[in-house]
């Protein structure tokens, strides 16, 4: 049976792209067709295997309570043993399918988008590395494996953001992404170390058993700290406030990369991590509260920035941050189902949006400013359709995918606390507004005379079509087939649609789209006037609340200043002492050599004086040394 084979060989899913990375990186790099061919073949194989795993989960009744686990020892020394392995449950299976599917789509899309790029082979090598790392992360059996692949995912993200390494902005963005996520990883690593010390194991299954017992015995105090430290990792990786700053800059990478890594898959690693170790968070109300509020604040905050941005990819980036905030919010209010559901639908429609944006950018020769676009709906009908589907999906208009998942999150938030719900609803209104703004500015209105757009090639249209279909049915179908029965934490719940909540959010979304039409479509309401009316708010939003400037200052002035101060200390105090000792020796020698007068008779005098002294010492002080001769 294929699904049995796929389950037993699930470790092949990350291994295949890893092998492809090595092969392409070492030998095939210079042959574009072979590189892409190998990467694609491997992606297809991984996708099929992932589907097989998904099938196996259903066929063999693997649930979150009874996962499928394989382990092999990786490091074993006295006092510490670390495993690698495979951990398959419905959440994993869903992630595997989503990641392999989106990455396959992006790789097909890149055939067209990256065509003729001098680093074509290198690009596919990096993509394969990323896919390998991400899949390895997804099937992690313990924290150490998760951390290993977590970092590798960070590396591939670094490489891909800096893909155009000759651009200063790309190189700085890559650096920023790595360092910002590193700050989060610092917390994650500390949390992992705490767990290792407390429980002597990092295995998810074992921790899942040990932690409730520990909480019963010793309370939640220390574990809350651990959970918050671990949560720092997701804050960094999933672009949560205040470590979100790297994600918009990450758009310096090629657009397919933005779609795959910085929208659909990698950035949800943080969400996935929290879901994966929900057995820890679930017991700690303070930690859950933190997750929920971080998510809600991030969602609102990023949406408010997206309102005024001008670059198409930046708008999408802030919308990604905002949607990730939604997922965190869902986790924080205790609904793994809603979070994972939104993760899945978001992967589809956000990849779609990015790829469509990529098609636009490609058509306009790397034009990124939405106000330099306009009227593209005639020349690029496929892209226009794809973008429209994506916008409707993210805005939460029924029956598109985003509607169902967002509704579940709102429902969960409403059941938890009304301030969170309120923030989530307002954010969903903002989301609909800025996405509609993007759509109207880019595709409606008059065409700009300088632009000579053309429709995307077939290799780019196919992924748009596939993802478009998924963005339409990706919410409705899982909803009818009871997604929540499989992907869940704790007992399954059949909440169903709450018509009041769904109605409110849909109405708000439609209203926002209408407002956007008035402002940017028909031009009835002037956006400039509005900006002019509230200059402070506008500037705050446009400058992203000056957080980048704050970090810049921290990095340059504070850290750099300390570094310079310490270097000064090193040069002038520590080395000063060292060199001072050297100089002292020289001076002493310089002084002492003056006693060499060259007067032989002086030397003689000193010599006899010394002999006299020794004699006197022998006679009066230590007569015993002479063996009693003198007495």
């Amino acid at each position: 049976m294929f699904h049995e084979y796929a389950l037993q060989h699930a470790w092949l899913i990350p291994l295949l792209p890893a092998i492809a990375f090595v092969l392409i990186g070492l030998w095939l790099r210079r042959v574009p067709l072979l590189s892409a061919g190998l990467a694609l073949a491997v992606s297809i194989a991984a996708f099929l295997l992932a589907c097989g795993v998904g099938q196996a989960v259903i066929a063999q009744g693997i649930t979150v309570e009874q996962p499928f686990i394989q382990r092999v020892p990786w490091v074993a020394i006295s006092g510490l043993s670390l495993d690698m392995g495979v951990f398959i449950d419905p959440i994993t299976a869903m992630m595997l399918v989503v990641v392999t599917l989106v990455s396959l789509m992006v790789q097909i899309y890149s055939l067209g988008y990256m065509q003729g790029d001098p680093g074509f082979g290198r690009f596919y090598a990096y993509l394969s590395l990323f896919v390998a790392a991400m899949l390895g992360l997804v099937i992690s059996v313990n924290f150490i494996q998760l951390f290993v692949f977590w970092e590798l995912v960070g590396l591939s993200s670094y490489l891909l953001i800096g893909y155009y390494f000759y651009k200063i902005s790309a190189r700085e963005a890559a650096k920023k992404a790595f360092i910002t996520t590193r700050i989060g990883d610092f917390g994650l690593l500390l949390g992992i170390l705490f767990l290792q010390i407390l429980f002597g194991t990092l295995d998810f299954a074992q921790l899942g058993l040990a932690i409730p017992a520990y909480v019963q015995q010793s309370g939640t105090g220390l574990l809350t700290l651990v959970a918050l430290l671990i949560f720092l990792g997701p804050i960094g990786k999933s672009g949560q406030f205040p470590l979100h700053v790297w994600l918009p800059d990450a758009m310096e990478g090629p657009t397919p990369v933005s779609a795959l890594i910085h929208a659909a898959t990698m950035v949800v690693a943080g969400v996935y991590l929290v879901a994966r170790v929900f057995f820890l968070f679930d017991l700690l109300p303070v930690a859950l509260q933190t997750v929920a509020w971080t998510g809600a604040i991030t969602a609102f905050f990023a949406a408010s920035i997206a309102l005024t941005q001008r670059e198409i990819k930046r708008i999408l980036a802030y919308s990604t941050i905002s949607q990730l905030g939604y997922m965190m919010l869902a986790l924080g209010v205790g609904s793994v189902t809603a979070s994972m559901f939104h993760l899945m639908t978001h992967a589809f429609f956000k990849a779609l949006l990015f790829l469509a944006a990529g098609a636009v950018i490609h058509a306009l020769h790397d034009q990124n400013d939405i106000f330099a676009m306009g009227g593209l709906r005639h020349k690029m009908p496929v892209t226009f359709a794809a973008m429209t589907v994506g916008v409707l999906a993210i805005a939460g208009i029924p029956p598109f995918a985003g509607f169902f998942s967002k509704d579940e999150i709102l429902l969960a938030a409403a059941q938890a606390s009304w301030p969170l719900y309120l923030m989530a609803v307002v954010t969903s209104g903002l989301t609909a507004f800025y996405m509609a703004r993007l759509l109207f500015v880019v595709f409606f209105g008059p065409e700009k005379p300088d632009n000579h757009p053309h429709e995307a090639p077939l290799s780019m249209c196919i992924p748009l079509g596939v993802l478009g279909v998924l963005a339409i049915v990706g919410g409705f179908v899982p909803y009818t087939y009871h997604f929540g029965d499989w992907v869940r934490f704790g007992p399954a719940s059949h909440s169903g649609l709450d018509w009041a909540i769904a109605g409110t959010s849909t109405a708000l979304a439609l209203l926002s789209i209408g407002l956007a039409w008035l402002m940017y479509g028909s031009g009835r309401v002037s956006a400039e006037r509005l900006a002019w009316r509230f200059p402070g708010l506008y500037r705050l939003s446009y400058h992203k609340y000056y957080i980048d400037e704050l970090y810049q200052w921290l990095n340059q002035t504070v850290v750099g200043g300390i570094g310079r101060a310490l270097y000064w200390l090193d040069l002038y105090v520590i080395d000063g002492i060292v060199n001072g000792l050297g100089k002292l020796t020289l001076r002493l020698g310089d002084g002492l050599r003056k006693i060499q007068t060259g007067q032989v008779q002086q030397y003689g005098l000193v010599l006899f004086g010394a002999i006299l002294l020794v004699a006197a010492w022998l006679v009066w002080i230590e007569p015993a040394l002479m063996g009693g001769v003198l007495s």
Partner: protein, 511 residues
């Protein structure tokens, strides 16, 4: 049963090669380099065989040899390796081989250079394989002379002159060895009564169990050893030789010095400090941890503002040695495993770094970071080497640096949680300075002034391939290294367990 004396063979292969070189005319440059390469290949091959043939399960000292030399003093030519010294021996030969190829383009007095290089490698290797303290000191002093000559003849003058760098390096080495010598003599004289005195390390390690070392003596003698080995390991504040020395030294010397020579400090602390004077180690451990945290953070922050590539890596190695010191001072099996493994890991990555910097410097004649940039255009292979070394240096999993650091953290966290947290904060600063040089040197717009600079090719690739593949293979299969190290740490377990009960510095003072 007579066994082939592998260790003697390994030790004398470079000496033999050096003698052959001595007989060659100085004009036969190609021949000289070839012979040096062959010599080191043989030595490396033998070492790799030993690494493969070492029996993990049996652990302890293997491939032992012993010939009495000065029986009146208890000195004997005793060799042997265990899980602690074998990785370091392997590292020596690995870096030695890479260093020969990294100096392939050298054209100033190659005969003398390679002769000195081989002597240097013999000296370093000798300190790791000997079981006799006297021989240990002998080999250690053997190291100092070639280092000095090589720095002042083949070195480069930047912020400080090469003469200053060479002198600083040598004086620090000698000063360290002076403290060490006093400590060693104190051990020798106190361990056993006259007549049965010995320099054998195993016998000395027995002495404290027989109660021959009082606690006060251990505390005093350990301090001497700590000053000696600590300054060799660039423990703060005895670190300032390291950046200046590396900056002044030629590529091969930087590689060997940062890669292995420094590790004699850590090796000595474990072999002599911990095994011979356990109570002393326990007493000073809190102090070492404190200094080590300063090492990690201080050096990382200073590395952040350096303008010369070699200074960045010089300070980076100071920072990494902080991790080694923490691992040592946490005094539990996990952390000591990590400390030894981290010495190996850091050796490989810093050697690769220096090899790559050497290449860049050869081609562009500058190491000033603001003058460099966009080298990935002209030198993609060198850029790969930089990336590998850099990523290993910031502890990226999948490369060699991660597991050692992680084990150090696990061990240190158990013993000194707060200091460990501060040290772990170092990974953020490490990322900052590593990414800074990677970005500023490799990436950015193409600079036409470097268009004439060729990428590494042919034999110049050997260091990159050799060290790079070790970085990756040992990173993906860390058990290759950790299993070996663990077999060396396992015999210490009873000692460490006993030490766990012993009073620490604070406890001792309160008593």
């Amino acid at each position: 049963m007579t066994v082939f004396p592998f260790l003697t063979a390994i030790l004398f292969t470079p000496i033999f090669g050096m003698l052959v070189l001595a007989c060659l005319p100085r004009e036969a440059e190609r021949m000289i380099k070839l012979i040096a390469a062959v010599t080191m290949s043989v030595a490396f091959g033998l070492t790799a065989y030993l690494y493969w043939a070492y029996d993990f399960a049996r652990s302890g000292l293997q491939f032992t040899e012993s010939i009495p030399w000065i029986p009146e003093l208890g000195v004997s030519y005793a060799l042997g390796v265990d899980g602690i010294s074998l990785p370091l021996l392997f590292l020596t030969m690995l870096i030695g081989l890479a260093a020969v190829f990294a100096s392939w383009k050298l054209d100033k007095r190659p005969k003398e250079f390679f002769m000195l290089l081989l002597i240097l490698l013999t000296g370093v290797a000798g300190t790791f394989v000997t079981r006799d303290l006297f021989i240990f000191l002998l080999f250690y002093e053997l190291v100092v002379i070639p280092i000095y000559i090589m720095v002042i003849i083949w070195g480069s003058t930047k912020r400080v002159s090469k003469e200053y760098a060479g002198m600083k390096l040598t004086i620090y080495l000698l000063l360290g060895s002076a403290f060490m010598l006093v400590g060693v003599l104190a051990l020798y004289l106190n361990a056993y009564p006259p007549g049965s005195r010995t320099f054998s390390m195993e016998a000395l390690a027995q002495a404290h169990q027989l109660g021959h070392f009082s606690e006060e003596f251990q505390i005093f003698a350990f301090l001497l050893l700590l000053l000696g080995f600590g300054s060799l390991l660039s423990m703060w504040p005895f670190h300032s030789w390291s950046p200046d020395g590396y900056a002044g030294a030629p590529t091969a010397v930087s590689m060997i010095h940062a890669g292995v020579l420094k590790k004699i400090g850590g090796y000595g602390l474990i072999r002599l400090g911990l095994l011979v004077l356990p109570l002393g180690a326990k007493f000073w451990a809190p102090v070492i941890v404190g200094l080590a945290v300063v090492n990690v953070l201080y050096a990382a922050l200073v590395a952040l503002v350096q303008k010369d590539l070699k200074y960045v890596i010089g300070y980076s190695s100071v920072s990494h040695m902080g991790y080694v010191l923490i691992g040592f001072a946490a005094l539990n099996s996990v952390s000591i495993n990590g400390a030894i493994a981290n010495m190996f890991a850091h050796g490989v990555m810093s050697a690769l770094f220096f090899a790559m910097i050497g290449h860049v410097y050869d081609k562009t004649h500058t190491r000033h970071i603001p003058d460099l940039g966009g080298l990935a255009h002209q030198m993609p292979r060198v850029a790969t080497g930089f990336m590998l070394a850099g990523m290993a240096s910031l502890g990226l999993p999948g490369l060699i640096g991660f597991i050692p650091e992680f084990t150090i953290f696990v061990g240190a966290f158990r013993a000194y949680p707060w200091q460990a947290i501060l040290a772990i904060l170092g990974i953020v600063f490490t990322a900052l300075y590593i990414l800074r040089i990677l970005a500023n040197v490799l990436f950015g717009p193409r600079r036409p002034e470097f268009d004439h600079c060729a990428d590494a090719r042919g034999l110049e690739l050997v260091p990159l391939v050799l060290l790079g593949s070790v970085l990756v293979v040992f990173g993906i299969f860390p058990q290759l290294l950790m299993g070996m190290v663990n077999s060396g740490v396992e015999p210490m377990l009873p000692l460490l367990a006993k030490l766990h009960q012993a009073p620490s510095m604070l406890g001792g003072l309160l008593k």
